[in-house]
Amino acid sequence: MTDQEKQVREIIIDVFEFPHVPYWFTIRQVSGILKKSLSGGKCLRPVAALVFDEKYNLLGHIEMKDILSGIASAAFSGQAEDLEVISAPGDETTTALKELSEKPVSTLLTPFKLFADPEDSIAKAAELMLRNNLQILPVLENQKKLLGVVRSTDIFEYLSTRFFLA
């Protein structure tokens, strides 16, 4: 098999390698879970949790960076001049961050709209991810059964080897 024909199947990561959260978990709960996965030693990149509904359908994922941008917009709204907003938060910022912490994860998640097939070539999945700036792409068998995900880190490994290091 040539390099171009390598299939998505070969780089699938099991979904159970990632923490699972239901969409009603709060940002505070998810932050705790991501923090634990960081300190757990077997942390995968990107640092993310997969978000499911009550019937275990995959809705999307939330990354550390999504939470950071949530914090940024809660903390810095209309206070661009003030650089001590986090080190010495005022009442307004404290309230905004507290509110954010109790919001459901569904407010910050990146929904999954695109999927790969295990038979797809890695090149095809790579193109889809690059065009849409995706860090994680779910892989569905027969457009239905969730097999796992493809990560941008594995796509990087594949592309960099193929184009820069071959």
Partner: protein, 245 residues
């Protein structure tokens, strides 16, 4: 002999401390009605953090070994069930799965990570995936029981596909997965319902309801933690005890 905490042991420190303290109560070193050492003393005795001590003592309170008395300290309780007494109640009756005919609506059958002390209630590592089941049980058209169950995902991953509206969870566990429940611990209390729980049970938020928390064991392994919230007026529990010999 002083038992010490083994830091090479993979068991969490608070669990080790909990086992040590249970041992002291069971062998009578810490007598009934006596005060157990303070948090500070326990920290020094076992060279562990205050957080570890708190967790272990909280668990000791929860399992009914000790009682906290505001401003006085923590005291060893009389055990309600002595070793000569065995509980003969069929747990299926207590489980409410047998005698009352329920219809069941599954509100959630999904996977999550343990947060907010769920890892302690289920006695699992905090990075372990958990199956979460939320079922509303009806008698006729009236919702009377809201049950949330948590099981380690790896012991029965297929449970996510099982039909829990037509089948009893305990029967599925026993017949399909050969998980034989050998022990159940019940914790019963009265608790105010939250807004979302109240909506499901047709109660005003803050109304008192009966909370039954249960830990299910198969051998020494805990396999499920269930939190059942009941409309208060519906149930009467029956518990029978008999002396073994």
């Amino acid at each position: 002999m002083t038992v010490i905490i083994n830091r090479d042991n993979t068991k969490k420190l608070y669990i080790q401390l909990l086992d040590i303290m249970k041992g002291k109560i069971e062998n009578g070193e810490w007598a009934v009605d006596s005060q157990i050492p303070t948090e500070d003393d326990l920290c020094k005795m076992y060279e562990v953090s205050k957080a570890t001590v708190r967790q272990a003592v909280a668990e000791l309170v929860r399992s009914g070994y000790v009682l906290k008395q505001q401003g006085r300290g923590t005291f060893v309780c009389k055990r309600v069930i002595s070793e000569e007494l065995s509980m003969l109640t069929s747990f299926k009756e207590l489980m409410l799965e047998a005698k009352v005919v329920f219809s069941t609506k599954v509100l959630a059958q999904t996977v999550l990570m343990p947060t907010d002390d769920l890892d302690l209630m289920l006695n699992i590592p905090e990075d372990m995936h958990v199956i979460y089941l939320k079922r509303l049980r009806f008698v006729g058209s009236e919702a009377i029981l809201l049950q949330e169950s948590y099981l380690p995902h790896h012991i029965c991953p297929q449970l996510l596909q099982d039909d829990l509206e037509q089948n009893s969870l305990l029967e599925i566990l026993e017949k399909k997965y050969q998980i034989m429940i050998t022990k159940v611990q019940d914790f019963i209390e009265v608790t105010p319902v939250s807004a979302s729980e109240g909506t499901l049970l047709g109660l005003e938020p803050g109304t008192s309801a009966l909370l039954l928390e249960q830990r299910f064991f198969a051998g020494s392994q805990q396999i499920m933690y269930t939190r059942s919230l009941k409309r208060p007026e519906r149930f009467r529990f029956f518990i029978e005890r008999e002396r073994k010999s």
